[in-house]
C-alpha cells in the first residue's frame, strides 16, 4: 500500500509545495492550465484506455463546463449585461443565463450538464451497439457541430470570440497573483483527488469489467452484464471530469472560446493521452502535462516548426513506443530489475 502510493505522494509534494515556491506566477498559471488538461486526460484515460471508447468529442464537455463557469463569472462581475451581449445587440439577459448567477447551480451545471449529455448520447449509441471507429467519428462530428452552434449563437455565447475579460472569481481578484496561486492549488488538488478515485475504480472489479468490455463487449453480455449501461456510466464520468476541468480552466486562463473545444483540441488531448500511455492513468495525466509544456516551449523557441515537431513526435511515439512514455518507463524499469 505504502510502496504503491510512494510515487504518488512524491509527485503530490512536488506539485503542491515545490512548484508554487519555485515558479513565477506566469509559469505557475501555465502549469495550472496543463493540469486542467490533465483532468480531461484522466477522463479520456478512463473511457479510452480502460474501456476502449475513443472519444474525440471531449472538448464538448470541457466547453460546457467552461461556458457554465464563464457565464457565472460574467454575471457576477456586476455592471449589467455581459460586454459581448452589448456589442451583439442583446438588450436583455437571456432566460438561459439567469440560473448561472448562482455559483452552486453554475458549478453543478458545469459537471452534471456534461454528464447528462454524455449519458443521453451514450444511452442512444451504446444501446444500438455503435462502437469503435463509429463512436470515434460520431463524437468528432459532435465536436464539430457544437462549435458551429456556439459560433452561430453570438448573442448567447459570444460567438467565435467566446467569453473573456473576467475580473474576479468568488470574490477574489483575478489579476492578483495570490488568486492565481490559489487557483493553481485548487486545480492540483482536484486532479489529485480525481486521480486517486479513478485509480481506485480502475483497480476494482469495475475496472476489470471495463477491460472485458473493451476486448469483448458481446461476450460480456453473456456474463450477465449490460455493456451499454457500464459504458454509458463510464462515458458520463469522463464527461463530468472534462466539464469540471473546463470550469477550472476559465478562471485560470481567463477565456473560453469555441476554438478550445472543437475537433482539433479534442484530438490533441487524445493524442496527449496516447503519448503519455493510455493503458495507465498516470500516463494520461503525464501526457497532458508533457504535451502542454512541449507546446508552450516549442512555440516560444521556433513557432513555425511546432507542427513538424508535434507531428513527428507523435508518429515516433506511436510507432516506436505504442505504450507511450509510461510504457517506455515501465520497460526500462523491468529491464533494470531483471
Amino acid at each position: 500500500m505504502i510502496r504503491r502510493n510512494l510515487p504518488f505522494a512524491a509527485v503530490a509534494v512536488i506539485v503542491l509545495v515545490v512548484a508554487p515556491l519555485l515558479l513565477e506566477p506566469f509559469r505557475l498559471s501555465l502549469l495550472a492550465k496543463y493540469l486542467c488538461y490533465a483532468i480531461v486526460a484522466l477522463g479520456i484515460g478512463l473511457a479510452w484506455g480502460q474501456a476502449g471508447m475513443l472519444t474525440l468529442g471531449q472538448g464538448v464537455f470541457f466547453g460546457l463546463g467552461g461556458y457554465s463557469m464563464a457565464m457565472h463569472l460574467k454575471l457576477t462581475e456586476g455592471g449589467g449585461l455581459p460586454d459581448f451581449m452589448v456589442w451583439s445587440g442583446v438588450e436583455e439577459l437571456p432566460a438561459l443565463w439567469v440560473p448561472f448567477g448562482d455559483p452552486v447551480l453554475a458549478l453543478a451545471t458545469a459537471v452534471l450538464g456534461p454528464m447528462l449529455i454524455a449519458a443521453v448520447l451514450g444511452t442512444l449509441v451504446f444501446r444500438q451497439r455503435v462502437r469503435g471507429a463509429y463512436f470515434a467519428i460520431l463524437t468528432q462530428a459532435l465536436a464539430a457541430a457544437m462549435v458551429i452552434l456556439l459560433v452561430g449563437q453570438q448573442g448567447l455565447t459570444g460567438g467565435t470570440n467566446g467569453m473573456t475579460n473576467f475580473f474576479d472569481v468568488f470574490g477574489q481578484d483575478l489579476a492578483d497573483d495570490s488568486t492565481q496561486r490559489g487557483l493553481y492549488l485548487v486545480v492540483a488538488s482536484v486532479l489529485g483527488v480525481l486521480y486517486l478515485a479513478t485509480r481506485q475504480l480502475v483497480n476494482s472489479r469495475y475496472g476489470r469489467l471495463l477491460v472485458a468490455i473493451r476486448d469483448g463487449e458481446d461476450r460480456v453480455r453473456f456474463l450477465g452484464y449490460d455493456p451499454a449501461l457500464v459504458k454509458t456510466v463510464t462515458f458520463a464520468l469522463s464527461a463530468g471530469m472534462a466539464g469540471l476541468a473546463g470550469a477550472l480552466f476559465v478562471p485560470v486562463v481567463g477565456i473560453i472560446s469555441p476554438a478550445l473545444l472543437g475537433v482539433v483540441p479534442s484530438l490533441e488531448l487524445v493524442v496527449a493521452v496516447a503519448v503519455g500511455g493510455r493503458h495507465a492513468l498516470a500516463g494520461a495525466v503525464l501526457g497532458a502535462v508533457v504535451m502542454g509544456y512541449a507546446q508552450t516551449a516549442f512555440s516560444e523557441q521556433f513557432a513555425d516548426g511546432w507542427l513538424y515537431l508535434q507531428g513527428a513526435l507523435f508518429i515516433l511515439v506511436m510507432t516506436l513506443a505504442p505504450k507511450g512514455i509510461i510504457g517506455v518507463a515501465e520497460r526500462w524499469r523491468r529491464a533494470r530489475t531483471t
Binding site: 471507429a133 463509429y134 452561430g152 469483448g216 508535434q310 507523435f314 508518429i315 506511436m318
Partner: protein
C-alpha cells in the same frame, strides 16, 4: 426553375463531392480498417499536383500517382505496424496530416494558390455549371472503377481476404504486404483525384484537407463500412439534406442538422446503411 427545384441538382452535386472525397476511404477505412486522418492531405496533394501542372486533365492521373505514392510510403513506413488497431491509426495519421500540412506550407507558401479552370468547363446546363457536372461524372466513374476493382478482380478479392483474416491470408499463400501496399495506394490515389476535382470549387491551400475530412468520414459511417452502395446512397442523402437544410435555414444550421441526422440514422442502423453481418462475437 424555382429556387426550390434548383436545390435538387445542387444537392446531388454536393453529394458527388462528398462521394468523391469518401471514395478513397472505402478502401483505406472500409477495406483495411485504417482511419486515415491524412486522407485530407492526400486530397490536398492532388490539388497541388493540379496546381503544378496547371492543367486539369493530365492532373487526374498524375494526382492519382502522387497521392497514391504518398499513401504507399505511409503504409510501408508506419501503418503496417498498426493493422488490427484501427483507433491507433487514427492518431498516427493525424500526426502525419499535421506534418504534411506544414510541409505544404513550406513548399507552396501559406497563401492559397490558384488552379485555372479549363475554358471548356465554363458555362453550364440549367442551374448546374459544367464544373459541377464534371465532378458528378468523375464520381460516377470512380464508383464504377472501385466496384469493378473490388468485385471483378482478383486483387479485390485478395484485399478482402487480407482484411478479414490477415494471418490466414498469409498461410493461404497471399503476400499480405503487397496487398496492403496496393490497397493503400489505390485508396490514397483516389483522394488525389478528388483533390484535382476540388480545385474547381474551393480554395487550394495547406488547410484544404481539414475542410473535408470530417464530412468524408461521415459518409463512410452512414453508408456502412466498406459498402460502396452505402457510400453512394449516403453521399447523395447527405448532399440533398445539406442542400435543403441550408436552403431553409443557413449554412451553419445545415451542418448541425446533417450531423444530427447521422446520429439519428445510426440509431436506426447502427452499422450504417448496409452491413456485413458476421456470426463472430467481437
Amino acid at each position: 426553375m424555382s429556387a426550390f427545384a434548383n436545390q435538387l441538382p445542387i444537392g446531388l452535386s454536393i453529394g458527388a463531392v462528398l462521394l468523391l472525397i469518401a471514395l478513397g476511404l472505402t478502401f483505406t477505412f472500409g477495406q483495411m480498417g485504417v482511419i486515415n486522418m491524412a486522407h485530407g492531405e492526400f486530397i490536398m496533394a492532388g490539388a497541388y499536383t493540379a496546381f503544378l501542372l496547371g492543367d486539369l486533365v493530365p492532373a487526374l492521373p498524375a494526382a492519382f500517382l502522387v497521392a497514391g505514392t504518398m499513401g504507399l510510403i505511409l503504409e510501408r513506413a508506419a501503418i503496417r505496424h498498426f493493422y488490427g488497431r484501427p483507433l491507433d491509426t487514427l492518431l498516427l495519421t493525424w500526426g502525419v496530416s499535421l506534418v504534411l500540412q506544414q510541409l505544404a506550407r513550406d513548399l507552396f507558401g501559406a497563401p492559397n494558390v490558384q488552379v485555372p479552370a479549363p475554358a471548356w468547363l465554363s458555362g453550364g446546363v440549367g442551374i448546374l455549371p459544367y464544373n459541377r457536372l464534371f465532378i458528378m461524372g468523375l464520381a460516377v466513374a470512380g464508383v464504377v472503377a472501385v466496384w469493378a476493382y473490388l468485385t471483378r478482380t482478383r486483387l479485390g478479392r485478395r484485399t478482402q481476404a487480407v482484411v478479414q483474416n490477415r494471418r490466414l491470408a498469409a498461410t493461404s499463400g497471399i503476400d499480405t504486404g503487397r496487398v496492403d501496399m496496393l490497397t493503400f495506394f489505390v485508396g490514397s490515389g483516389l483522394a488525389g483525384v478528388a483533390g484535382v476535382a476540388l480545385t474547381l470549387i474551393g480554395p487550394v491551400g495547406p488547410a484544404l484537407g481539414t475542410y473535408y475530412i470530417v464530412d468524408a468520414f461521415l459518409v463512410v459511417v452512414a453508408g456502412g463500412l466498406g459498402q460502396l452502395r452505402g457510400a453512394v446512397l449516403a453521399a447523395a442523402g447527405l448532399g440533398l439534406l445539406n442542400s435543403y437544410a441550408e436552403f431553409w435555414s443557413d449554412a451553419s444550421l445545415a451542418k448541425v442538422i446533417v450531423l444530427a441526422a447521422v446520429i439519428a440514422f445510426l440509431q436506426v442502423r447502427p452499422q450504417g446503411m448496409f452491413v456485413l453481418r458476421s456470426r463472430a462475437l467481437t
